[in-house]
């Protein structure tokens, strides 16, 4: 028996080999055939590519794979099986980056500060109609403020994790007009007048002025999201790209005192923390130091994020620059109406600016030549090397706001920056790479370069022309908007 089974066994093994070998051979090509569908390649062919950071490419091709740009150029070959988007006759630009957008892309009510454990990711709403509106004017990434409700209903401040809802209807503490009210009141009653944060009435201090410092300034929260319509993955880019403060929280000697205290506490905490880590590393046990300030303040001190604050008058701007130099943090000024008066001071301090070229502010009486807004601010900032990003007249993503189904869109502001004397290149950068840098995302977005996120716009004309429409918007390598299908903007061909 044994002699018989052995050859049979051998035969079986031989059979297995014979079976296995061809099987292996066939497996290889099938795997190779399977590979392309797993990584879809998108090719945008024939467009006039404005890369923003590099030269312009006429009739170029962009390849997109796995949400990233893998090739850009005139002699890029389109691989077989790639999905092709015809961009002949179209202008191709990177997606615009909006640094100041009202609440959008987040579910209403969700993520309210009443729930301390609330995570921003859980409130994302990729089907928000505002996303389509934003894409309609080319915004692919936005720094969205977290406050809920429309303006006038809730104060920006959040006290101890709770929204303050008692407030007079229609009053917005950050409104530009408030400055004028304060100025008038200061003229009438003296320099210690401030605005009530709830009702907007001027507060006239009575003697004696309280000696205790104001409660520490409250900050607003923001979140950076991609306009990836209908897709949750890759939508949330990050939280708190800025430390946002209201100008009121830092005005006056007491406000500034309390701000300095906060920064000092943060610095001390960082030292304590470092010492604590050393102790832990040496194997001893120790209670970690208590965190005296918010994470955002700590990151500000570490120069990871800038402080973003509104300052319009020369004196307010100087105050903020002075504080940022003294305390050693990065500063982004919004509003910045009179920044053109002292551009060298901004450039020297490395301060960046977010402003609206079309916003008007009347000059002060007697200082007509050195106050108020001026159309040529864009030229002056460009010349002095102050980086600036642009924002629309209203940050609400609605009909009359930033999405601009009327004329309030971002590209139009860029056009006005060009009108004021900035180069087209700088104006386009003010919508793309400059804000991307402010958000700390210049390695991912803001230009058309190999390795960056495929956030790409196909436009039917010059991006700075108000007649131009975004035809197609691609976010994270996926078509997220088509004007002809989404129909938030008029559909016709010229």
């Amino acid at each position: 028996m044994k002699t018989k089974t052995a050859p049979l066994f051998g035969f079986l093994i031989a059979c297995f080999h014979a079976l296995a070998l061809p099987a292996q051979d066939t497996a290889k090509p099938s795997e190779a055939a399977k590979k392309p569908p797993t990584k879809e390649i998108l090719a945008i062919v024939g467009g006039d590519i404005i890369t923003v950071t590099r030269e312009r490419i006429r009739g170029g091709t962009i390849l997109v794979e796995g949400g990233k740009i893998t090739a850009v150029g005139q002699d890029v070959k389109v691989p077989e099986g790639a999905t092709t988007i015809d961009a002949i006759g179209k202008t191709v630009t990177p997606g615009f980056v909006a640094v100041d957008v009202g609440r959008m892309g987040l579910a209403t009510g969700g993520g309210s500060s009443s729930d301390r454990n609330a995570k921003v990711f859980d409130t994302l709403d990729p089907f928000d109609r505002n996303i389509s509106l934003g894409l309609g004017i080319g915004i692919t990434t936005a720094c969205v403020e977290m406050r809920s409700g429309g303006s006038g209903f809730a104060r920006r401040g959040v006290s101890d994790g709770f929204p303050i809802t008692e407030r007079f209807l229609g009053f917005d503490p950050d409104l530009e007009e408030n400055d004028a009210i304060v100025e008038t009141a200061q003229r009438d009653y003296g320099p210690f007048v401030s605005l009530c944060k709830c009702c907007g009435l001027p507060i006239i201090p009575t003697e004696p002025i309280e000696n205790t410092p104001e409660a520490p300034a409250t900050q607003q929260k923001s979140v950076v999201i991609k306009m990836s319509y209908g897709k949750l993955d890759g939508m949330l880019v990050g939280e708190s790209a800025f430390l946002d403060m209201t100008p009121g929280s830092m005005s006056g000697a007491l406000g500034q005192y309390s701000w300095r205290e906060q920064i000092a506490k943060a610095k001390k905490y960082l030292l304590d923390q470092a010492a604590h880590e050393k102790v832990i590393a040496s194997g001893k046990k120790e209670q970690p130091p208590r965190k005296p300030v918010s994470d955002e303040v700590l990151r500000l001190v570490k120069r990871e994020i800038p402080l973003r604050i509104a300052a319009n008058t020369v004196s307010d701007i100087r105050d903020q620059i002075q504080l940022s130099k003294e305390l050693g943090y990065k500063l982004v000024l919004t509003g910045a109406a009179e920044a053109w008066v002292i551009p060298d001071e901004l450039a020297e301090a490395g301060t960046e600016v977010v402003y609206t070229p079309r916003r008007r502010r009347a000059p002060r009486f007697g200082e007509e030549q050195s106050s108020g807004t001026w159309i040529e601010m864009s030229r002056i900032l460009e010349k002095t090397g102050v980086p600036f990003a642009l924002t629309a007249l209203s940050n609400a993503m609605s009909l009359d706001g930033i999405a601009g189904r009327d004329l309030s869109s971002l590209p139009l502001e860029a056009a006005f920056a060009v009108r004021g004397g900035a180069s087209e290149k700088t104006a386009l950068a003010a919508l793309t790479i400059t804000p991307a840098k402010m958000l700390g995302l210049e390695k991912r977005i803001g230009s058309i370069e190999v390795g960056k996120d495929a956030d790409i716009l196909l436009l039917d004309g010059n991006p700075l022309d108000y007649r131009t429409y975004v035809e197609t918007a691609i976010v994270n390598g996926r078509v997220a908007y088509k004007r002809a299908e989404v129909r938030v903007l008029p559909v016709y061909s010229k």
């Binding site: 301390r116 089907f127 101890d160 939280e239 208590r290 005296p292 994020i305 390695k443």
Partner: protein, 453 residues
């Protein structure tokens, strides 16, 4: 004597037999309906001019060639159509807790100021209700259900609960299964999603860690992003009594008060058992979603648990938007039967037809989100007929009304189709069920007529 005795004995046995026989006879008195068109919603398909024989509340025979027993009561239903009773998989009711919290207020303290706001505390969202424990069937108006031809329904409440399955009777309703399915309502908020995540997480695994956010927040390269769950430090100097909402992060299982909080070996709470069944794919989880984004979040939160079967209760337009993320293998949709709008447009769309093209299984809930359901309607299937008229296949429409919801609720062995051995729950209609003007003539539950038009 002997003879007499035996005679009496014989007589008494005869009597007993006679009583038994009569009883049997009474029980065996069956009902036959003939002449009607039978929509069986089974393999038998449609039977023209068929006979359905009912005994003991069950279907004893069905078909063209059925021998009608002599004793049977016969109903002639020529020109009528008979279809299985409708199963409503999501019949919303209010029970004790909901009714209480409607008038409830809570007090919150903001900067020393006390403010009273309407509504219960946020934690009430995550407290568990077993509906069969707190429902009073006699105090609910079932008229709308019975006249709409609903013969089996899963009663649900919004929030976190275990359903109960009932069937209507002539005056009220009776419970078929007190231990129904697990229900959760999910919005895009951390609180409701955490309920889902913690429930689906296997016990003992990464209990302290933040619930998986899937592929969620991203990009360490971007340089910012707070660690999830990081406690926001209070920059405030000691302030009078920090406002205290409900203690966050309560595990939902703790909400069940019947479970002793301490003990050497805590018994498995009923909710834990329910979640385990869901995790292992033994029972489906009913998730009520109020918008399209919530569907995506829910799919994201349940991505890891491959076996879990999820039933999504959502509006048609939300399903339309989220279709790319839905998996026909593990997801089933429950939606109201109606023509919807394509989101953000005025274009109308037949979502059930769209879903069947995408091979996505779905069931209808006649009661869901339909105001006309509550008012007197002679043609409860009008909405479905408009869907059939605009392209939904008849078979799919029948299935979505009867067999599919029966499967979802777990009563498909008893109801959902006209088959031998199943409960005699059926409707007699005066014409084709999906003709716009057809009305229901009578509704039978377990062979008894509970409604007549």
């Amino acid at each position: 004597m002997c003879n007499l005795n035996s005679l009496i004995q014989r007589l008494s046995t005869l009597l007993v037999f006679a009583i038994l026989a009569e009883n049997q006879c009474f029980a065996q008195r069956s009902l036959a309906i003939r002449g009607a068109k039978l929509e069986t919603v089974s393999k038998a398909g449609t039977i023209e001019d068929g006979i359905i024989l009912i005994r003991d509340g069950k279907i004893e025979a069905i078909g063209k060639e059925v021998k009608i027993p002599l004793a049977a009561q016969v109903i002639d239903a020529k020109g009528k159509t008979i279809m299985p009773g409708i199963v409503d998989p999501y019949y919303v009711v209010t029970v004790g807790r909901d009714a209480q919290s409607a008038g409830e207020t809570r007090t919150i303290v903001i900067r020393g100021q006390t403010i009273t706001v309407p509504g219960g505390s946020p934690s009430s969202l995550t407290s568990f209700t077993k509906i069969s424990d707190s429902i009073d069937l006699d105090n609910i108006d079932w008229k709308a259900a019975t006249r709409s031809g609903i013969t089996t329904m899963q009663l649900v409440v919004s929030g976190y609960a275990q359903s109960v399955i009932v069937q209507p009777t002539v005056k009220s309703a009776q419970i078929i299964n007190p231990d129904g399915k697990l229900l959760v309502s999910v919005t895009n908020s951390t609180q409701s999603l955490d309920l889902l995540r913690s429930g689906l997480r296997a016990p003992g695994s990464s209990a302290g860690g933040p619930p998986g956010t899937g592929s969620g927040p991203p990009s360490p390269g971007s340089g910012f992003g707070r660690p999830p769950g990081g406690v926001r430090p209070s920059p405030q100097p000691p302030s009078p009594q920090p406002p205290s909402p409900a203690p966050p992060g309560n595990p939902p299982v703790a909400a069940n008060s019947s479970v002793p909080s301490a003990g050497p070996t805590p018994p498995v709470s009923p909710t834990q058992k329910l979640w385990t069944d869901v995790r292992e794919g033994k029972s489906s989880l009913f998730v009520n979603l109020n918008n399209a984004a919530a569907i995506l979040h829910c799919v994201n939160a349940t991505k890891e648990i491959k076996q879990a079967k999820l039933v999504f209760i959502a509006a048609g337009s939300d399903l339309f938007e989220a279709i790319r993320d839905l998996d026909p293998k593990t997801h089933v949709a429950i939606l109201p039967p109606r023509i919807d709008f394509v989101p953000n447009t005025r274009d109308r769309i037949n979502i059930p037809k769209f879903l069947s093209e995408k091979e996505m299984p779905f069931a209808f809930s006649l009661s869901l989100g339909q105001s006309e359901f509550r008012v007197q309607l002679d043609t409860p299937l009008f909405a479905v007929s408009s869907l059939v008229y605009s392209g939904l296949s008849r078979q799919k429409a029948f299935e979505a009304l009867t067999m599919m919801p029966a499967k979802l609720v777990g009563v498909d062995s008893e109801v959902g189709s006209l088959e031998v051995g199943k409960k005699a729950n059926f409707l007699i209609l005066d014409g084709d069920p999906f003709a716009a003007t057809t009305s229901i003539q009578s509704v039978f539950v377990e062979g008894k007529q509970i409604y007549e038009n």
